[in-house]
Amino acid sequence: MPETQSATPTSELTSDLRELAADVVRRAMATGASAAEAVVQEGDEFSTVVRLGEVETLKEAGSRALGVRVFFGQRTASTYTSDLSLEGIEKLVSSARDLAQITSEDPFAGLPDAGLLGQHKNELNLFYPDVYSLPGTERIDYARRAEKAALDYDPRIKNSEGGSFDASTSHRILVNSLGFLGEYRRSFCSLVSVPIVQSDNGAMQRDYWYHMSRSLKALESPEHIGKVAAQRALRRLGARKVKTAQVPVVFDPLVSRSILDHIFEGVNGDSIYRGASFLAGKLGEKVAGDNVTVIDDGTIVGGFGTSPFDGEGIPTRRTVVIENGVLTSYLLNSYTARKLKMETTANASRGLAGTPGIGPGNYFLQPGTKSPQEIIAGISEGLYVTEFLGHGANLVTGDYSRGAGGMWISGGQLAYPVEEITVGGNLKDMFFHITEIGSDLEFRGSVAAPTIRIDGLTVAGE
């Protein structure tokens, strides 16, 4: 057993980074920019994988980087660097100025209106230093326990891809030439167990279970995670193909959230103003069944998609995207809001480089009242999807075709595992045929949906 120390996460003094960001903005303005914005990002990470009881990998590091976005009237460009020396900063700023000269004049480009800038002051519970509180040996032990619980669960589980434990913290600072200065820290830890089950004839199946949390204290126990992972893997043994058919399809929460993601792809400002979504122009119209309400909320305390301000420095908010089937709002940043003559919904997402995109906050489908068991019980022949393989949604046409695996439903029960099939349809119809929405909404990430049933899909197999 290796003796390990938890290496102290590397970090610079906060005030230095704030000053750094402000300095970059000042320098950019000094090159003649009409507006500028700087982002400094700093973070550290720890990760370990334990396989068959032994440490397989152990990784630990920290990093810092800086990005600047400049405006010269209606032209804009951006640069980023991991070199925070004086020379590095000077190069960062002069390159941005030079690049801006070759971009086009775009009347919609620019920082947000000054009056919109701001950040939430309430405690959002995004940062818990306890993610690094365990000594290294115990972090490794978490991963070992998550794997062991799966391996011990059933004699048919003799192999695994391991248990893994990850912890990280990040620190983000945004400064712009309109006087905005905002920063926040976030912490994150996760535990995953990936067992492999083998049947008598040698066929193997793999599944996983996981939990993630902002604080170590709230992380589910390794024993629970290992046990659920084992149950999910065992459930796949003996999976077979089925005949092509049109049947009701139930999606478990791990996969139903990806259907919800398609709504996000379809309502974000970039897709809308370019007409690259079939939802463009449909504000105020019915785009889904009455039972469908979709909300984006960047303010939920502790949420994975929460932040005090969006990627442009505007306080995040709660937006009802679809209400009882009616499309009530797109999700926008300043640029797309201007293009559409609307107001931003504070969904700007800014990495280090490039222009801000659009990202969800905590994005979810409002739950219904039936349990997943009740939903399944209402189906005589159908499919219960527990995993997707590949992508396959076209938001321009609505075409939907994805590889899938799960369980066949027969007489209201989960009957046998199914694999090597696809689920196909068209999103334009699918949103109107979400015939059941479960009560089991749980955030295992920033996007969440309960169990849902969709009718009218084609299951392709034999």
Binding site: P2, T76, A96, L99, N159, R274, G390, N394, T422
Partner: protein, 483 residues
């Protein structure tokens, strides 16, 4: 030792490298390496005929790795000062326990290939020339057809300089250019919209895009053509049928069906559906498939892998028999097999593992027209989006973005996108015809594994798969092309 770049830029000298490696081995590891990386990149995009976005970046750092038995310790730093490098080395060293037992061998630079001797890397080329490429594509796409309403063009390039040193004496330096050009179009009518994309590039200079076969006009008209075609596409059938794949990018079939499953780490751990199948039949005898990192100028090629081992052409499957896995340093040592030079990593922040380079099937004897003619009712797919695989149960998918119905040996109706799904260890046993028209893709592939992306290439000649499941929505036996 002639590591000019990192010496002049960061003042790193041989004795520093020896010191860091010794620190990494100070707790008893078997092997340690340092991966220094300095990357500059540019990206530009045009939308609504405006250059809306231009960005450039620099990223530099070093990853320190220590191997101890089956264990890997890893730490990285973006600050190459001696203090931070020593801290990273000592952190990575913690994977081992015990007294130091290995010493650092003398560095020996092996003769290297030169697969991409670009005189002027595109990152250093005039930015106005790159903007000109965007403009040409925009004009060409819009001119293709009046129904083309939205055009998005993007160009990205990078130059990655690396220095790898290992405690076994490995010393490798490389300068890796990479460029990529993409066009996306949306076609619209009163009632309908559709999209098309096309792109290409490689480890090339900007002049690459002056050649007509890889010019902005070429990619623009391809993207526009696909979008227009899709306006009239009908529902794809659902269920099992004969599938003919066109040459080039449809080679993603191989990448998903067998490529990942043959990565040595999965086979060592016996988590891959191909574990234990060396020497067994996994494809028809018409199939010979290789992974080849030595092709000049290709996106998926490397002079040596990210562990400093020379790349090579590895025969994966020969006349249908599984011959080799693709490996890295750790896998090859633990499995007692030669290192195939496939140890790759996304960046200095990542641990290397076996990854593909350019993966393709060799040309066969059949005439592509005969292949189409041999199909009574099936699908002919020539363009794809991406794919994915579960390497444990072997199930894989890839999504067709341009496909046609074949009826009585004729290509008839264009079909809307559909995902094809199959089982890796047996799908290739049903390859009954292999065309003589091998093509590689145009240089757009990115492979993801365990959260790490690397550039790759794929290729295939026209082939017929006797049975594959098509994830459409139309009932399979609905016949004919209806107006």
């Amino acid at each position: 030792m002639d590591n000019k770049f990192f010496f002049s830029h960061f003042g790193i000298q041989q004795r520093d490298l020896e010191r860091y490696l010794a620190a990494a081995l100070s707790a008893g590891g078997d092997y340690a390496d340092l991966y220094f990386e300095y990357q500059t990149s540019t990206s530009l995009s045009m939308d609504e005929s405006l250059v809306k976005s231009a960005s450039q970046g620099i990223s530099a750092g070093c990853g320190v790795r220590v191997l101890s038995g089956e264990r890997t310790g890893y730490a990285y730093t973006d600050n190459l000062s001696p203090e931070r490098m020593m801290h990273a080395a000592k952190t990575a060293a913690l994977i081992a326990s015990g007294p130091s037992k290995e010493t650092v061998a003398a560095f020996q630079e092996k003769p290297a290939r030169s697969l991409y001797p670009v005189a002027l890397p595109s990152v250093d080329a005039e930015i106005s020339s790159k903007v000109a490429l965007l403009e040409r594509a925009d004009v060409a796409a819009r001119r293709y057809d009046s129904r083309i309403k939205e055009v998005r063009v993007s160009y990205g390039d990078e130059l990655r300089r690396i220095l790898i040193v290992g405690s076994d004496g490995t010393l490798a330096e490389d300068s890796q250019p990479l460029a990529r050009f993409n066009v996306g179009c949306i076609a619209k009518t009163e009632t309908n919209s559709a999209r098309g994309t096309s792109g290409g590039g490689g480890r090339v200079a900007l002049e690459f895009f002056s050649d007509p076969i890889s010019s902005p006009e070429h990619f623009a008209s391809e993207a526009a053509r696909q979008a227009i075609l899709q306006l009239d596409a009908r529902e794809a059938p659902a269920g099992e049928m004969e599938v003919v794949l066109g040459p080039g990018w449809p080679g993603v079939l191989l990448h998903e069906a067998i490529g990942h499953g043959l990565e040595a780490d999965f086979n060592r751990k016996k988590t891959s559906a191909f574990a234990g199948l060396l020497g067994k039949r996994v494809a028809s005898d018409k199939c010979t498939i290789v992974d080849n990192g030595t092709m000049p100028w290709r996106r998926g090629s490397l002079n040596f892998d990210d562990e400093g081992h020379p790349t090579q052409e590895t025969v994966l499957i020969e006349n249908g028999i599984l011959k080799n896995y693709i490996s890295d340093k750790l896998s090859s040592r633990l499995m007692g097999m030669p290192d195939t030079g496939n140890g790759r990593r996304e960046s200095y922040e990542h641990i290397p593992m076996p990854r593909m380079t350019n993966t393709y099937m060799l040309a066969g004897q059949d005439n592509p027209d005969d292949i189409i003619r041999s199909v009574k009712r099936g699908m002919y797919a020539v363009n794809f989006g991406g794919g994915q695989v579960d390497i444990t149960n072997g199930k894989f998918v890839f999504s067709a973005s341009e496909a046609y119905l074949i009826e009585d040996g004729q290509i008839t109706a264009p079909l809307r996108g559909a995902t094809l799904i199959g089982n890796g260890p047996d799908v290739l046993t049903r390859v009954s015809m292999v065309g003589n028209d091998l093509r590689l893709d145009e240089g757009v592939g990115t492979c993801g594994k365990d959260g790490q992306s690397v550039p790759v290439g794929v290729g295939i000649p026209t082939i017929k798969v006797d049975r594959l499941t098509v994830g459409g929505t139309a009932k399979r036996d609905t016949g004919g092309y209806m107006q």
